[in-house]
């Protein structure tokens, strides 16, 4: 059976799991191409216009492969950690897609609660059943998929740069080079190294987030806030760049929280959507890079006097 996996949203985090799982089940896995203009345009065409760009792009990925697959995976991620939530659009993603795109093949839309191995397995069981597989095959595929996910090291940790920034934001904004217009490469070209959240330990993220008045109930808040604030406090980087999309309800909050906690730390917010021009982004990154350089040389000057 041909199983389609759209390369959008949290695919960027969980692709080893998804691909291994369906491969091991004996499916022919069809992954959509990297995001491109056509995919974006299709997404914009199908999706409700009030949605954020990543969700539109996801629609585009779905539309690009529905003709080639008999079953499509639309991960309905409900929870990744206990007592934490995820963006409502993830929970309603299958509804958004199915109600917006015609001629959809059958879809796997069962809710995913990845709070424990057991809970995740109940999703796997349902998914495996849609392919008519028996329990032992599913179990085996599931275990392999988990191993693949664990062995997969995601994240960017550039070395050898004079200046470094913490790059934060949703995985699909950081790793989808079409939507972020090759941000990482641009930064590298400007002589700036990039570090992402994956290298900060979980307990540190938690510790930073626990300083908030209210326990953040979004997984993304904890991850992005914890990482950015910690990097600023530890001075392990020279600045923070937050890559976000317009109309992201979560980012609008997280960005404010970061600003409030480390108000004087260099912080660049890049928001993109389907109308964003690349030239504008370039100018802003360059200006930020200049600023970081000036700061660095000022500091050096001061230290030689002191």
């Amino acid at each position: 059976m041909k199983v389609g996996i759209p390369k959008g949203l949290l695919y960027y985090k969980y692709h080893p799991f998804l691909i291994t799982f369906f491969n091991e089940l004996g499916a022919e896995v069809i992954v959509s191409d990297d995001t491109n203009k056509k995919i974006l345009d299709e997404g914009v065409k199908y999706c409700v216009d009030d949605a954020c760009m990543p969700v539109k792009i996801f629609h585009g990925h779905v539309a690009s492969i529905i003709d080639n697959c008999e079953l499509i995976v639309i991960p309905r991620i409900m929870q990744l950690w206990k007592n934490e939530y995820i963006c409502p659009k993830f929970c309603g993603l299958p509804e958004m897609v199915i109600n917006s795109i015609d001629n959809m093949p059958k879809a796997i839309t069962d809710p995913i609660y990845a709070t424990s191995k057991k809970k995740l397995y109940s999703w796997a069981k349902l998914a495996g059943k849609s392919l008519n597989k028996n329990n032992s095959t599913i179990k085996k595929a599931f275990n392999h998929a988990l191993t693949a996910q664990r062995n997969h090291l995601e994240g960017i940790y550039d070395q050898g740069y004079e200046l470094n920034i913490a790059l934060t934001g949703h995985a699909y904004n950081i790793y989808d080079n079409y939507s972020n217009m090759n941000l990482v490469r641009k930064l590298n070209d400007l002589g700036i190294g990039v570090i992402t959240a994956e290298f900060t330990q979980e307990h540190i993220l938690r510790a930073e987030a626990s300083n908030l008045y209210k326990r953040p109930f979004w997984t993304f808040t904890r991850e992005n806030y914890g990482f950015a604030v910690n990097a600023a406090k530890e001075k392990s980087v020279d600045g923070i760049i937050y890559i976000s999309s317009f109309n992201c309800g979560l980012d609008s909050i997280i960005i404010e929280l970061i600003k409030n906690t480390v108000p004087s730390f260099p912080f660049l917010i890049l928001k993109v959507d389907e109308h964003t021009g690349e030239a504008g982004i370039n100018t802003r990154i360059e200006a930020f890079a200049d600023m970081l350089e000036r700061r660095a040389s000022d500091e050096n000057n001061i230290s030689t006097h002191g």
């Binding site: 409700v48 963006c87 008045y213 309800g249």
Partner: protein, 365 residues
């Protein structure tokens, strides 16, 4: 201590009953208007949802009248609302205001002890006995219930009234008189009087007015300023309207949710289209659309603030319901940039559409 709270529909009436009953000092922020929104927009993060901005405007105006403490409910379905308080606290501090926040979160998030501690803060300055405090709370709930009933009745009967504008007048008088009462008992009997009044207004039972359900994000459907007083306008047009979301609904929903007994009918109705709670009140919105169609309504209007995540999901679903059931549904998005004229035109066009559909049915085409 002088308590205040953000506006949301008729909550201010119940709040007056509560604070009068407790005998604590309070400020009711001036009614929402453009000015409030401007203040809020000036100081709020740009991309935050509309309710946040209006609330900031409320706080600042209340502070000008001496308020020093704000009472706020926490989570409203897992959505941004739950993170409001933290940002608002920071924001007010940054603006140089010394405002205390009492946040009433769900006991499952903060523990029942903490909740009682926070509730205790509200009543510190009250010299009422435990019995008196409980009574004040009970009276306030009665008031909330009554005003919601009066309002719902007026919205619905407006389509049937013989004397044009009577329902609206009664509703307005009712609110005004309630605010002139000096204690909860007086307020309750005044509200009862108006409730009765509505029972006896002359109606034309042969009339078959257009009926529209108002659905969508809870704040923007309840707070009339944020939706350009859509229900008042519908009354003017002689359209009957109905909305499930009310402060009373919210209280009941919260109280019953730990037992999973909340809003059973709405949940049941949403099942075919959105079977899970995804945050905010998206599932309710979908369920209400289905219920409205089954209840013989002519159409539904969904209202939500720009960028509202759960309602964007429901907006994707509503066209399917509309197609499946041949039931017109219009979505209106509001924010601080929404122009009133364009908005009203859309509402009027929708009403025209509903009227035309009716005529077509009558003509058998």
């Amino acid at each position: 201590m002088k308590i205040t709270f953000p506006h949301m529909g008729n909550i201010y009436i119940a709040a007056k009953a509560l604070f009068d009953g407790l005998g604590v000092d309070y400020v009711i922020p001036p009614q929402n208007n453009k000015e409030v929104l401007n203040i809020g927009t000036r100081y709020s993060p740009e991309e935050i949802c509309l309710p946040f901005k209006i609330m900031i405007g409320n706080y600042i105006q209340a502070i000008e009248q001496g308020a020093d403490t704000v009472l706020l409910t926490g989570s409203c379905g897992p959505c941004r609302f739950g993170e409001y308080c933290e940002l608002q606290m920071n924001l007010m501090k940054e603006l140089g205001y010394n405002l205390n926040f009492i946040v009433l979160d769900m006991p499952k998030d903060i523990g029942i002890k903490e909740l009682f501690k926070r509730l205790g803060k509200v009543t510190v300055t009250s010299n009422k006995s435990m019995y008196g405090k409980t009574k004040a709370l009970k009276d306030a709930l009665t008031v909330a219930n009554l005003i919601d009933e009066v309002e719902a009745k007026a919205h619905y009967l407006a389509g049937y009234e013989r004397n044009k504008g009577q329902c609206k007048r009664i509703l307005n008088d009712c609110k005004k008189e309630a605010m002139n009462c000096s204690n909860p008992e007086e307020m309750i009997s005044s509200l009862r009087k108006y409730k009765d009044k509505l029972k006896y207004i002359p109606v034309d039972i042969n009339k078959n007015p257009l009926k529209i359900a108002i659905i969508g994000e809870i704040y923007t459907v309840i707070e009339p300023f944020s939706n350009f007083f859509i229900e008042d306008k519908l009354m003017d047009y002689g359209v009957s309207s109905k909305r499930e979301m009310t402060p009373t609904w919210w209280v009941k929903n919260m109280a019953l949710s730990p037992l999973k007994l909340n809003s059973l009918k709405i949940k049941q109705s949403s099942k075919d289209y959105l079977s899970l709670a995804i945050g905010g009140h998206a599932r309710e919105c979908v369920g209400e659309a289905v219920l409205a169609q089954e209840g013989g309504f002519d159409g539904a209007i969904q209202i939500f603030p720009m960028g509202c995540m759960p309602e964007i999901v429901s907006k994707s679903i509503l066209p399917t319901i509309s197609k499946d059931k041949d039931f017109p549904i219009m979505s209106l998005v509001v924010d601080d940039m929404t122009g009133e004229a364009g908005y009203i035109t859309r509402v009027e066009a929708f009403i025209d559409l509903l009227e035309r559909r009716r005529n077509n049915v009558l003509l058998g085409s």
